[in-house]
Every structure is written in structure tokens, then in C-alpha cells.
Amino acid sequence: MISEALGINYVVIAPSLCLLIIGIIFIISDLSLKLKPLYQGLVLTFGLLITGVTIIFKIVEYGRLGVSSHFSSMILLDEFALFSDVLLYIVAICTFPIIWTSSSVLGEKRTEAIVLVLMSLSGFMLMTSSDHYMMLFIGLEIGSISLYALAGLNRKDSFSNEAALKYFIFGSFASAILVYGIALMYTSLSATGFYETSRTIAYIGEQNVPLTAIIGLALFTFGMLFKVSAAPFHAWAPDVYQGAPTAYVGYMSAVVKGASFVILARLSIIVFPLLSLNRSIIFAIISISSVVIGSFFAATQTDLKRLIAYSGIAQAGLIFSGIASGGHAVTASLFYLGTYIFQLVGLFIVISITSDGFSSTIELDMLKGRLKKNPFLGVCFSIFLLGLAGMPLTSGFIAKFLLFTNLWAAGLYVWVIVFLLASVLGFYFYLKPIWTLSIDEAESDVILLVSRTNSIILSVLALLTILLGIAPSSLLNIADWVVSSYL
């Protein structure tokens, strides 16, 4: 009875709980039982499978209850939460094999890496399912702190240390800003959740909303924008991407972006329209400057990871532009987010296999001709990069097409023109690595081994990139399902 009154429903937090429990079992099994890696791997696989099952349960629960709030308005079960759960789960599934094999250089400390990954995933899943801002903050911190540690796991490498410290300092600063925003919203609106905020604003009327509430909302948004590395909150990204162990970077960036953009999308659908914040000048500045800064700096990079970091800033600007525009453009943004994350994850798997998965700096010149002897990896690498560039017949093009169409229809002409011009630059810097890795003459013969699991994952991701470019309806319908009921 009391559990019903409090709205206790374990199914809605089951994925997070499940990951947490696996993490704990994993630590215990390592410390006290000293399991062999093979058995550890089995435990992990089994745990991830169960997490998948719990996500299915959660979807069924959504079918039964619809959009609903649980645990005394702490946890929210809605389309956005389900979307991000599935997305993050796919990211985790795709990246775990490479994380697992690359972490073997850590020896006994491998457990640490795996537990951090599980914790961060749990945290971000909790974050996107939270209704209450404090819950969101807790989820964010569980996730982020795990990622700070992941970035610095390569203790002997100074770049990795620098990355961790930088990420930690900048990240805490952003978190502080986020909390400050939450506090301001609470003091001025007495609201502590997404729906509560929107209800309060609707109740008191837009013109009566105090400035402090708007500032609070802006600070909250900035905190999230920091996580997705949109300019001008992007300074950490290149250094962290460069310094962190390559095998983790794909996971780290994809998970953070996936979760944070879903939060931003929810904000944009539920709260922004009430305050007419969509398409405001500040959002225009953020998304346009992200695209411009990201594209221009990416074009000058000689380090592959830094290049992708800067290009990620540009991509973040693009995704955010749709979210900032609101309405149907959010659908396009979610579609873009999905396709971008598939490409990013696939790309980093290829890079991890190509270079040593645990090194920090990856100069493009060091990788000359590396993929020439391995056409499979070469083709995958090209597909992912062309997808990111937005080449037609890949999902990247459809994503850009839908986004630009929506932005133009919303009357944001300047944005579209800037983005189009920047995408020409995009072709330059995304094609450069293809040239270096699969066309230039190799200086040394390095034989690359792709494990069967990784080749399956890469084939699936590459096929998805092509298929979503030819028949985009499946993912687009999902994105539309997430957004359309709120419009």
C-alpha cells in the first residue's frame, strides 16, 4: 500500500539498478573470488543481456502506464527516457568488446575500467529517466565522475592524466553551474522537475515569470551544453578526446551526448515553448558558433582524435540547432543524434583497432596506409566518415537534409546557410583521414586483427549507416513517436 502511495515501481529504474548490481557483483567477484577473465566476461555478457531484458520490461511498463511519474515524482517514465535507454544500451553493447579487449593491458585493474563503464552507464540512464532535478543531478554526477576516472585510466601517460584533470575541473565547474541553475529555478518557481516547471510557468503566465527563473533555466541548459561540448563550452573536448584511452573515447562521447541531448530535447519540448525561448538569439549564437568553431579547428588538426573532437563540436552545434528550434525540428535532431552516435561509435572502434587501443595521441601521419591491407576496416572507416560528412546515400545526409528542411521551414535562414557552408569544410576534414589511412602509401607493415565480435558490430553499424541513408523511415518513425505526442 505504502509502496503504491510513494509510487515505488522498480521496473522504471530497473536498467540502472541492474547495471549497478552487475558492477557490484563484478567488484566482489574480482576481489574475493578472483575469477578468471573468461568467467568475468561471461558474468558481464550475462549482466548486459539482463539489462537489455529490463529495458524491454520498461517499454512494456510504458505500454501499460503511459507517461507517468514514479517514486514521489522522482523518476519519469516517458518516450524520451525510453529512447535514451535504448540508445545508450546500443552504445554500451557496441563498445564493450573493444573496451574489454583493450583494457587487458591494465592487468588486474581491468575490473576498475569495466566497473567505471557500468557505473557511468547506470548514471546516465538514471539521469534521463529522472523527473526531479536533484535526481537528474545525481545521475549526471554518477555518470560524469565515472567518466573523469575513465579518461585518466592510462596512468603512465601524461596526456591521459591531463585529460582526466581537465575534464574533472571543467566538468565540476559545469556541474556547479547546473546546480546553481536548479537552485535558481527552485527559489523563483518552487519547481523541481520538468513537468512541475512547465505547470508553474503555465499557471503564473509567461509575463510573470521572474528573470531569475529564466537565468536558472539558462544555467541549467548551459550545464547540459557543456556535456555535449557545444561552443563556447567546448574547450575540454579536444584535450579529453586526445588524452583518454582511445578504446573508451567512443563510449564516453557517445554516452554523454546521447543522454544530454535527450534531456535538452525534453526541455525544448516541455519548457522552452512556454517561455518563447526557442530560436532565441543566445541559442543561435551557441549553435552557429559551435558549427563554425568546430569546423574550422577540425580542418587544421593533425591528430585524428582531436579532429574528431572538433568535428564533434560542430555536430553538437547541428544537433542542438534542431533542439533549439523546437517543434518538428526536434524529431530531426533526435534522428540526427541516433545516426551520429552509430557513426561515432563505429568510427572509434575502427580507430581503436587501427591504433593501439590504449594510446593517447594519434597523429594522422603515424597511421599512413594502415588500412590498405585490410579492406574491411577501410570500407567501414570510409562509410563512417562519409556518414559524418553527410554524403548522400548515408544516414548522415538524411539527417542533415531533415534538419535543414525543418530549420528553413522555421525561418532560420542564416543558420542553414552557415551550416551548409560549414558542411563543405566538413567534406575536407572528414575525407582527409580516409586519404591518409587507406590511400597513402604505408610506411610500415602492421597487421591488424579484427575479432569476430568486433567485425560483426562494425558490419552492423556500417550497414545501419547505409540503410538509414536509403530507408530512413524506421529510425525517423521512432524519433517522431518520441516527439509527436507533445506537439
Binding site: 562519409l386 554524403m391 548522400p392 528542411t405 563543405v424 575536407y428 518513425n477
Partner: protein
């Protein structure tokens, strides 16, 4: 009909997958499979030639729902003009594969790229909606990037990047225009659609037409290339391998002209009438500039590349004339230029395979050792110059007549292009073939072998056939061009 067109697009893709899955050891199978995969589309074009209906309207063959949420379909169709281009493509691809079996490095990837290229090009020529047109138009860049980038010459990196950046820069304007058209359709018809039928029903103000016309035409102008945007072409041609050059000159340049005929002229006729004077002027500048620059070239490939700039100028002039005969000449010349320049690049490639140089000063008097090759080169040169009896004459003559009534001075100036063409082509012929054998090392050059004969013979046959009996082509394109010319004429009448 549906099956025929689909097989034209899908067969090359399918066979490129087959190639990709073949083990590396089965090298002897690569060329036969690629050749087979690329001859299936020939059946497509033959089927269209025999069973197609050419009554001057665009035939929609089928629609596939594509992005259902936005109601966007993939519409496939054909008419006489696109059939001519499909025919050109399907003929040139197998021949270019046949002519380039000298490529021994990473053969598999090369053949896959050529097949994908063919599928994309046929995709463009059969697209009956702006979005898939753009999609295939852009998708061509990927195989071309690899063809020039991997199998190209020494300076290929520069050439490839220049080619890609130029084309992509042009394409974003087309992309923007496509989005704009879609939104205008949304405004006027309440649904998002890009198919030609709906787009042709749009009611556009003159300003809207001007903007859209300029956006589309800029993208096509880079691809053609029209005079100030041509600088990527010589670089790309010189660095590309033989098959790449054949396809670039033979097919890809036509995409631009085809786009102008298919999209810029019929949909934005008012704007076309407004701007056609500039187009004609740029065309004439291209004719003379290309020819004059071609004269002093030492590199044969560069010479042919600049001659392409000159010949494409004729096509632009023909389109800009807006008259029936000029436009018909332009379409015919698109086909002719594909055949002739493709053959020229093929012949240059044969010479390069033997001597590994394209510098004309390294040859001289090699007619004595390669008589058959010299004869073939002479015929193709004459076709390129526009000698009566060969295909080049018919097209250029029609363009000159057609443009005379609209732009007399332009037409007169353009005629000098024919004279200049005779200068650079015959001079080149003289430098390479006539006189005493200049270098003793050239004595070892062997004449055309069977494979090379088979690859060049169909093209020469086509040149002669079209030259003697141009109605063979005219029959398919005349009604379509007539309708196009009528639209232009109506607009002209409305303005004056």
C-alpha cells in the same frame, strides 16, 4: 519497364558486392564479373530504346515510398533525353573497364568503384524527383574520389581534393535549392514533395525563379564546367586513370548539362530567359578559352581536357539559344562529346600504357610503328573537330545554326572554336604521328591489340553512324526537345 530500370541501377551494385566477397586469389574472375555486371545495364538501355514510348512527356515508371513521415517518394522515370544519356553511360562503362585492364594495383576496388559509379549515374538519369536526383548526383563523388585518389597519377591528392571541394561547394547550392523547392511545394500544395511533376506545377514569382535558377545552375555549372568554374577539370583529368578520365569526360560532365536541361530550363523558364544571355556569353568564352589554352599544351591529356571545356561551351551555347534546333544540337552534342572524348581519352590511355608518358614531345613519327592506332586517332580527332560525316559535325552545326538567330555574334565567335579545334587536334596529331620516327626507343611500341581494338571499335562505329544518320538519335530526343523549346518560346513571347 520497372524491372529494366531497376536492374540497370541494381545490377552494378549487386555485382560490386559479388566482387567484394570474392577471395583475393581469384584474380582472373575480377574482370569478367565486372564486365558482366556492367553489360546488364546495356540491356536496360536497349529495352528502353525498343519498348520505350517517346511522345515528348516525361514517363514516370514507378514510385517507391521513401521517407514516409514526410511523404517523400523515390520517383523513377525516363524520356528521350535521359535515354540518350543512359545509353551513353551503359556503352562507356563496359568499354572503359575493358580498356583499363592494365590496372593491376588493387584491381578489385577499382572495379567496384566503377560499378558503383555506373549505378549512381544511371540513378541520376532515371530520377524523376529533385531529392533523389541530388542524392545520386552527390553519391557519384565517392567512387570518383577513390578512382582518382587511389589509381591516379603523381599529383592526385591535390587534384582529388580540388575536385571534391569544387563539386561539393557547387552541390550545397543545389541542396539548398532542393530544400527550398520542397518547402514551396509544402506551402502551395500542403505536402512535402520533390517529384518533377509537382515541381513543374509550382507557381513561382520571377524573384523566386531567379534565386532557384541561379542556385541550381551554379551547381550544374561547376559540373559542366562552365568557364570560370572549370579549373578543377584539367587537374582531375590529368591525374585520373584512363577509365576515370573516360567516365569523367564521357558521363560526369553530361550530368551538369543534363541538369540544366532537366531542371533549370523547364522549371524556372522565366529566369532562364532572363539569364540565358549570360549563359551564352560564358559558353562562348569557354569555347574560345578552352581551345586557345589547348593549343600550347604538351600533355595530351591536358589538351583533351581543355578541348572538353571548349566542347562543353558549345553545349551551353546550344541550350542558351533556347531554339529548337540549338537545343537539339546541344543534346546531340552531349552524346557526341561523350563518345568522342571518351574515345580520345581511351586512345591516350593506350599510349600511356605503353610508354608511361603523355608528353607529346616524347613521341613523333610513330605512325610507322602503330599504323592502326594512328588511323583510329585520326578518325576520333576528326570527329572531335567536327568534320562533316562524323558525329561532331552534326551537333556543332545545329548549335551554330540554332544560336545564330538568337545570338548572332556569339554564334559567329563560337564558329571560330571549330577552327581552333582543327588547329590543336591536328597539330597534336602531327606532333605525335607524322614524319620520321623521332626517337629510336619508340620503335618497340606495338600496335593495338585485340582487347584495345574491341574497346575502341564500337565508339568509332557510333561516330560514323551518327555522323551519317543523325536521325537515329534525333528520333528519340526530338519531341522532348520540341516541348522544351515550346516552353521557352512561350515564355519569350510572353515577355516581349
Amino acid at each position: 519497364m520497372k524491372l529494366a530500370i531497376l536492374s540497370g541501377i541494381l545490377a552494378p551494385v549487386f555485382f560490386s558486392f559479388v566482387l567484394a566477397l570474392l577471395p583475393k586469389g581469384r584474380k582472373e574472375l575480377f574482370f569478367p564479373i565486372a564486365a558482366f555486371g556492367s553489360t546488364i545495364p546495356v540491356a536496360t538501355s536497349l529495352y528502353l530504346l525498343i519498348f520505350g514510348i517517346f511522345d515528348g512527356t516525361y514517363k514516370n515508371v514507378f514510385e517507391l515510398p521513401w521517407i514516409k513521415l514526410y511523404g517523400i517518394n523515390w520517383v523513377v522515370g525516363y524520356d528521350g533525353i535521359s535515354l540518350a544519356m543512359i545509353f551513353l553511360t551503359t556503352i562507356l562503362v563496359p568499354l572503359s573497364i575493358l580498356s583499363s585492364s592494365a590496372i593491376l594495383r588493387r584491381t578489385k576496388g577499382f572495379l567496384i568503384s566503377v560499378l558503383i559509379l555506373e549505378a549512381a549515374v544511371i540513378g541520376v538519369f532515371t530520377s524523376a524527383d529533385l531529392l533523389t536526383f541530388f542524392l545520386f548526383f552527390e553519391a557519384i563523388l565517392v567512387p570518383m574520389y577513390f578512382i582518382i585518389g587511389i589509381w591516379g597519377g603523381k599529383n592526385r591528392k591535390y587534384a582529388t581534393i580540388k575536385f571534391i571541394i569544387y563539386t561539393v561547394f557547387g552541390s550545397i547550392f543545389m541542396f539548398a535549392a532542393t530544400v527550398l523547392v520542397g518547402l514551396l511545394v509544402l506551402q502551395q500544395f500542403g505536402r512535402l514533395a520533390f517529384d518533377f511533376e509537382t515541381v513543374s506545377n509550382l507557381v513561382l514569382s520571377l524573384d523566386q525563379q531567379k534565386i532557384l535558377f541561379l542556385l541550381f545552375t551554379f551547381a550544374f555549372a561547376v559540373k559542366v564546367p562552365i568557364f570560370p568554374f572549370h579549373t578543377w577539370l584539367p587537374d582531375a583529368h590529368v591525374e585520373a586513370p584512363t577509365a576515370g578520365s573516360i567516365l569523367l569526360a564521357g558521363v560526369l560532365l553530361k550530368l551538369g548539362a543534363y541538369g540544366i536541361i532537366r531542371i533549370s530550363v523547364p522549371f524556372f523558364t522565366d529566369a532562364f530567359v532572363e539569364y540565358r544571355g549570360y549563359m551564352a556569353t560564358l559558353g562562348v568564352i569557354g569555347i574560345i578559352y578552352g581551345a586557345v589554352v589547348a593549343i600550347p599544351q604538351k600533355d595530351i591529356k591536358k589538351l583533351v581536357a581543355y578541348s572538353s571545356v571548349s566542347h562543353m561551351g558549345f553545349i551551353i551555347l546550344g541550350i542558351a539559344s533556347g531554339t529548337l534546333i540549338g537545343m537539339q544540337g546541344a543534346v546531340l552534342q552531349m552524346l557526341n562529346h561523350g563518345i568522342t572524348t571518351g574515345a580520345l581519352f581511351m586512345l591516350v590511355g593506350f599510349l600511356y600504357d605503353r610508354k608511361h608518358t603523355r608528353d607529346m614531345t616524347e613521341f613523333g613519327g610513330i605512325k610507322t610503328v602503330m599504323p592502326l592506332y594512328a588511323a583510329a586517332f585520326l578518325v576520333v580527332s576528326f570527329a572531335s573537330i567536327g568534320l562533316p560525316g562524323l558525329n561532331g559535325f552534326v551537333g556543332e552545326f545545329m548549335i551554330l545554326i540554332g544560336s545564330y538567330s538568337a545570338y548572332g555574334i556569339h554564334s559567329a565567335l563560337a564558329a571560330s572554336g571549330v577552327v581552333l579545334a582543327a588547329i590543336y587536334m591536328l597539330w597534336a596529331y602531327q606532333k605525335i604521328f607524322t614524319g620520321e620516327l623521332k626517337f629510336e626507343s619508340n620503335e618497340s611500341l606495338v600496335d593495338l591489340n585485340l582487347r584495345e581494338k574491341i574497346s575502341i571499335a564500337p565508339l568509332i562505329l557510333l561516330m560514323i553512324t551518327i555522323g551519317i544518320y543523325p536521325y537515329l538519335v534525333e528520333k528519340f530526343i526530338q519531341v522532348d526537345v520540341l516541348n522544351l523549346a515550346k516552353v521557352v518560346e512561350l515564355t519569350l513571347g510572353g515577355l516581349s
